[in-house]
Subunit: 412 residues, 2 copies
């Protein structure tokens, strides 16, 4: 990195949707405007000089259809009037939009056109029924390819991946790892009051997972409901700063993380994934970000990965080189990714436990890593192995199409 | 600018829609994919080493609804396989999306994470009838405010501005300037084979403009059809490079423009414009970009401005300080913005003449300025006053909400 980059003052709204006690699908709920201003203001409440914010990036996937609203950059000044007449734009790469907001803010601070940028992600999805929502989310893939596909296009893509994985490595073997993935997600979510599964009180999560076969059928061919991330309303925000920016904000380095490497890669959306049991772009992006940081995966103490489906979690473990191909399910089943495991992953629940407000997810991942590395994670705090001082986030758009990987370390 | 930034190898598709002889609303037409690859490949055809392109920014407003397609960054590698596994993202700020693609590419090259970035804008809007299209374009404004508004929300916003202008400065006076604006737009479009109004053969354009009152009624309260920009399918692309990047591409400086200043500003979308007869954000952004370049408007030899409606053109002339408030209509009526005038504006037709493929427009403006400053504008070429060597683009999203202003000069 040619200039030191930091992140601080992270904040999340609740991830709202089924699972939260407050959620009532028949009652009117807060809209996009509420989530943008709530997350933004919760970040700005941690600083005394919001006028130092030079610009805003808003990650959002599809407010144009969920909320009939484009042009989300225009809402920046609803967070704080000091943002009026400053640069603000929306960036989009499907479910990787939040990661793109972070990357854009990082590049802008590196360009020295900005010292402090607010990166915010938002999605409000409970405005439509699930089947219409699935149709909207399907725009993350190539529309022309979709015509002959599943009604639930995206679950279908990852169901196909799971089917090949089962065939290649064994159904019971794979499901054991995926069930453990689900259990970890809910266990972690129960420790974060903003998580969508915070109120989940199921006694035996793995048993519940394996019995989730209503009428003898899965939700899609090879995945049940518990294999899927949530339909969520939520927003997350964090400040991205230069070293001078951090000092001017009066934020102590112990309250910040340093960004020490990053990568952003996109594969051709019109092609099928090169290998159904490999997250190829995730693997390339993670390797590039780790190389950029000059570290190996063995130095990462906690990671947030994009488990839109449990199978994506297993395949990402393999793509990161934590386990060989086909051995990710065992590595997860053995508890290596649990909060007391070798490498705690998705410590506030990830997309399956915390929730998946699509355009916000990438920013939420950064907020969790910032919380963990600075000791601000509350009940969800994990104790980091001092030999593994780095954090890693992997945010993905589409079926392994757009991937943003960022490497962090505690700043002081 | 802390690092020299250049643009080169610009390209446009045809702006397709009503007015073009090839356009038949009842026949199937090329989609988004065609426009992205055609514009991108036309830019890349001007270099011999596309592998030097580090990343791609795609400006697009609302493919999610016009084309049921999100995640446009995923199409980069359909332009050229060398773009596979490189960074690519979509940026959006309504009709200012193309300008945001340029700004993002500029910031990225300034950050030194990239030496050559491809900025591409695209929109394919003729997929739906005009009234549904108007509903989609209305997402550029605040959806909550719109409920009580015009069916044609955006034309309505600028119609309201025109109504106040008529009342304050006189109807006939204002319409004279607006009619001349229309005449210039079509005159210029007739000289550019890619322009949507290229085939327009109306003999007396100003007379046609003033008589365009079908059944004694305007299209919206204070504007007729000729006051409005076109519904267009199109894409534009241009390379944004560092000095080293330009040299590595083998592009001579005489074939490039240098970016010498820029500004990006956004006002609160939930507020009405502070003054209905003022383009406040446009004025602020232009002043900031000119200041960044260290020049005044009197040194600008040609400009591309965002005439989504003729009244926006008149008000922009005032916002740029070319005429005092209320005197823009006279300044235009006197021919100062015509191709042989004091400051030729929209020399390939602008949004009213060339066309307005919304997410592409900002990039198209840069391509026109690049053509004019490097002598590549063909029949549309204007002769530049040597005392005014600079070019200026003003791209706007929403009703004066997001504005991108860029100042250019010939590189050699």
């Amino acid at each position: 990195m040619k200039r030191k980059i930091y992140m601080a003052a992270g904040a999340n709204t609740i991830s709202m949707g089924t699972g939260r006690k407050e959620f009532n699908p028949r009652k009117e709920r807060p809209g996009l405007e509420h989530y943008i201003s709530t997350a933004g203001q919760a970040s700005l409440a941690q600083i005394s000089n919001p006028e130092l914010i030079d610009e805003v990036y808003v990650g959002n996937f599809m407010a144009g259809r969920f909320n009939r609203q484009g042009h989300l950059g225009g809402f920046a000044a609803t967070i704080n009037p000091t943002l009026e007449y400053k640069p603000s734009m929306r960036v989009e790469g499907a479910c990787g939009s939040g990661g793109l907001a972070l990357i854009s803010a990082i590049r802008s601070v590196l360009s020295e056109t900005s010292s402090v940028a607010l990166a915010l992600g938002v999605e409000v999805q409970n405005t439509v029924k699930a089947i219409y929502g699935a149709d909207i989310l399907a725009t993350a893939g190539w529309s022309k390819k979709r015509k002959e596909g599943h009604a639930y296009f995206f679950p279908g893509q990852f169901s196909d991946r799971a089917g090949v994985y089962y065939e290649k490595y064994g159904y019971d073997y794979a499901r054991k790892g995926m069930g453990r993935w689900f259990r970890n997600a809910i266990d972690n979510a129960r420790l974060d009051p903003t998580a969508q599964e915070y109120h989940n009180d199921t006694a035996d999560l793995e048993e519940a997972y394996h019995q989730a076969v209503p009428n003898g059928k899965f939700f899609v061919d090879h995945l049940n409901f518990f294999d899927c991330s949530k339909v969520s309303d939520g927003a997350s925000a964090i400040l991205v700063t230069s070293e001078e920016g951090l000092a001017q904000l009066g934020i102590s380095k112990k309250d910040a993380v340093e960004v020490v490497g990053f990568a952003q890669l996109t594969r051709n959306i019109t092609n099928d994934p090169p290998n159904p049991v490999e997250m190829t772009t995730v693997g390339k992006a993670a390797a590039k970000a780790l190389e950029d940081a000059g570290i190996t995966i063995d130095q990462v103490g906690t990671a947030e990965v994009h488990d839109c489906f449990s199978i994506a979690g297993i395949l990402t473990v393999e793509a990161l080189g934590l386990a060989a191909q086909g051995e990710g399910a065992a590595w997860v089943a053995e508890g290596n990714t649990a909060r007391d495991g070798k490498l705690p992953i998705n410590t506030t629940g990830g997309l399956i436990g915390w929730g998946h407000p699509t355009g916000a997810t990438g920013v939420h991942q950064a907020v969790t890593i910032w919380q963990q590395l600075t000791g601000k994670a509350g009940a969800a705090q994990v104790s980091l192995n001092p030999e593994r001082p780095y954090g890693l986030t992997i945010n993905m758009g589409g079926d392994d199409v757009t991937v943003v990987a960022i490497v962090y370390k505690r700043a002081d």
